[in-house]
Chain length 217, copies 2
C-alpha cells in the first residue's frame, strides 16, 4: 500500500496540512535519521530510549546486548511507539509567537518480535550497519558465531505510521512586517567533521570513500 | 543536590560506566539539545512525540496550542518520560560487532503540571525562545495578551534523571588490529548553513550576531 491509513492514534490533529501518511515520505525520513526514540510501557509507566536502528522493508530492526531491558521488552511482543525527528532549521519570525522549527518527523506503532531466524538476523545486522555507514558491511570483519549469539535482534513490524513536516519561512502577522526585526530561516544540518584515525591504525590504510564523503542525505 | 539518586527506573544497567546521575552533566546535555522526545501512556498505549523545550531551573517547560493532546495530557498531571540524545560521532571498528555511536543522552521522569501563573508563563516562554536562539527574546516582538491566552504552557518537575555518555575511539578484539580495515571516529555536529532572509525583510536590516555566530555548544 502506498499509504498507511490514518488511525485513531496516528491521525494528525494539530495542523493537519503538515501531516502525511505516504509510505515514501515516511520511509525517506526513517532512512535519513541516525537514531530513533522508542517508547514503551512497563508496569503502567512510560519509558523512552534512544537507539540506532534500520528499516528493513516494512519493519524496523534494532540490536543490542542479550540483557537489554528495552530489547527484551520488544522481543516479548509488546507494543512500542517509535519516533524519529530531523531538525532542518530554525524559523525566526518578527514576533516570538510565530517562531517555529523546520522539521521532518515520523511516529509509528507496532508490536515487537524476536528475530531468531539466522538469515533474517544477519540481514538485520547488515541493514543496521549500512544504515549508519553505507558500505561499511562490505569492508569490516563480519560477525562470527560467538558474536551473533551475544547479539539480540528484534523487529517491529510497522502497523501504523504518520509523518509531520514543516518547511519554509516565517509567517508573521501582517502588522508585524514593518518591525525592524531580522526574519528568516537558519538552516541546520548534521555534518561530518574531520575523521579521527584510530591511534593503532596502520599508516598505509587509506580513508575509505564512504567516510570521506559521508552524508545523511 | 548535585546528583539525582539512581532509582529503579533510572539506574543504568547496561554498561554502567557510561552512566551519570550528576546534575551538571544532565543539565548540560539538556541545554544543548534542540528538541526532546516526550513519552507518555494513554489508555495503556505508549506514545512518543518530539517537541522543542527548555530547562528552567529543575523543571522542563513545553509550550504549544491549547488543543495539543500531548500538552493537555501533561497539564493534567500525568507522568511522562522525557529523553534527549546528542549524536557526537560514528565509531568505526575493524569488526562490525564493535561498531558504536558516540552520544550523550538524558532520560528523565516527572509529573506534569499546567503553568498558569502569568510570571512563570512568561519566564517559560522566554526560556523556550532563548533555548532555541539565545538572544532572540530581546529582539523579537514579545507575546501580547491574545497570544498568551492562545498558548498552553506546561512544566515537568524533574523527579529522577540519568545521563549516558559514550566517547572515544573504537575498541577492537586484539586479533582484529592487524586487519587492513580503516578504523576511527567520524565526528558529527549540528551546524548552521547560510541564513535565508525572509523575502519581505527590508534590505537595511542586518543579520544579528546571534544568528551569524549560532552554535549549539
Amino acid at each position: 500500500m502506498p499509504t498507511f491509513p490514518p488511525t485513531d492514534h496516528t491521525r494528525i490533529r494539530r495542523l493537519p496540512k503538515r501531516g502525511s501518511y505516504e509510505r515514501d515520505t515516511i520511509y525517506a525520513i526513517l532512512d535519513e535519521a541516525l537514531i530513533c526514540h522508542v517508547g514503551f510501557v512497563d508496569q503502567g509507566r512510560p519509558f523512552v530510549i534512544p537507539i540506532n536502528f534500520a528499516r528493513l522493508g516494512d519493519s524496523i530492526v534494532l540490536h543490542g546486548a542479550l540483557d537489554s531491558r528495552l530489547l527484551k521488552h520488544i522481543a516479548a511482543g509488546n507494543e512500542v511507539c517509535l519516533e524519529v525527528a530531523l531538525v532542518d532549521g530554525l524559523v525566526l519570525a518578527r514576533s516570538v509567537f510565530h517562531h517555529s522549527v523546520n522539521y521532518r518527523s515520523v511516529v509509528l506503532f507496532g508490536h515487537g518480535r524476536l528475530v531468531d531466524d539466522p538469515q533474517e538476523k544477519i540481514a538485520a545486522l547488515q541493514a543496521i550497519t549500512d544504515h549508519l555507514i553505507p558500505g561499511r558491511w562490505q569492508e569490516a570483519r563480519l560477525p562470527n558465531t560467538k558474536e551473533l549469539n551475544a547479539t539480540l535482534v528484534v523487529a517491529i513490524d510497522i502497523a501504523d505510521a504518520s509523518a509531520k513536516v514543516r518547511s519554509g519561512g516565517p509567517v508573521d502577522d501582517e502588522a508585524d512586517y514593518d518591525l525592524p526585526v531580522w526574519a528568516g530561516v537558519l538552516p541546520l544540518a548534521v555534518t561530518p567533521l574531520a575523521p579521527e584515525r584510530d591511534e593503532r591504525l596502520g599508516e598505509d590504510i587509506p580513508l575509505p570513500g564512504y567516510v570521506a564523503k559521508y552524508s545523511r542525505k
